[in-house]
Symmetry: C2
Subunit: 143 residues, 2 copies
């Protein structure tokens, strides 16, 4: 289906920073994170830029620069991360506007939108149940 990996990558990045800081480091660079995620540093910076705007991460510039958490892992839910990356809708309506002359073509958009809104609300409620601390715990348990 649609499905992009941004929530996964964003959660990965924040969790990585959290663990790294917990091990005594001040900041993590986008390059270090990118190595763990296995992608390009710019991809990480782009995501962290959004997380920063949302108040989940902070960056320091200049020499010895890098990223740090703005809040503890425990205080960040996956819903926070989800909202931060500005997700599009889970389900799309028609690409081309359906025939407005047809009763169904005319009314189906609003009808489905109402359902999709409820679905997304449920999705958010579910994401809100898990914090990054939970994620890290799960990660460490697997090791």
């Amino acid at each position: 289906m649609s499905a992009n990996s941004r929530l996964t990558i964003a959660a990965h990045a924040l969790t990585w920073i959290g663990l790294y800081q917990r091990r005594g480091h001040e900041v993590a660079t986008s390059e270090q994170i990118a190595t763990s995620v296995n992608t390009n540093p710019v991809v990480i910076r782009r995501l962290l830029a959004k997380l920063s705007k949302a108040g989940l991460a902070d960056s320091r510039r200049g020499a010895g620069a890098g990223w740090m958490l703005a809040r503890d892992l425990e205080a960040i839910t996956l819903l926070d991360v989800y909202q931060a990356i500005e997700p599009g809708p889970v389900f799309a309506l028609h690409r081309a506007t359906p025939n407005p002359e047809c009763v169904v073509g005319h009314g189906i958009g609003p009808a489905m939108t109402a359902v999709y809104d409820d679905v997304e609300a449920a999705l958010r409620r579910e994401l809100a149940k898990t914090t990054l601390e939970d994620v890290l715990r799960d990660v460490l348990k697997a090791a």
Copy 2:
């Protein structure tokens, strides 16, 4: 985000057939449906083929051919339709496998999968609440 429009189109098609039949017609052609949806008939046939495999619609071939519902609108939920179109995952994991040498890179996949499974379960529960009869009622109310 990702988001494709297949669920929307499939629901549209089935609702259209349902209303058409309710108005006294035996079958609906993919061309008629495509006109309401504003797309190519083959797109409709492809989707209806899946809905047919899932036991939601039936086709008749030969002259005077077309599509009909296999069950009443009331007996088809949006979850039925969703399952029928074989949706991919809502959230994707990493495109390239993350660094397995890294604790986070190693454990994040399973950790996120667990969350995503719960999210999809919630999504399904929500879709199950609405039948195509509900959708049609909403559509007609808007007219």
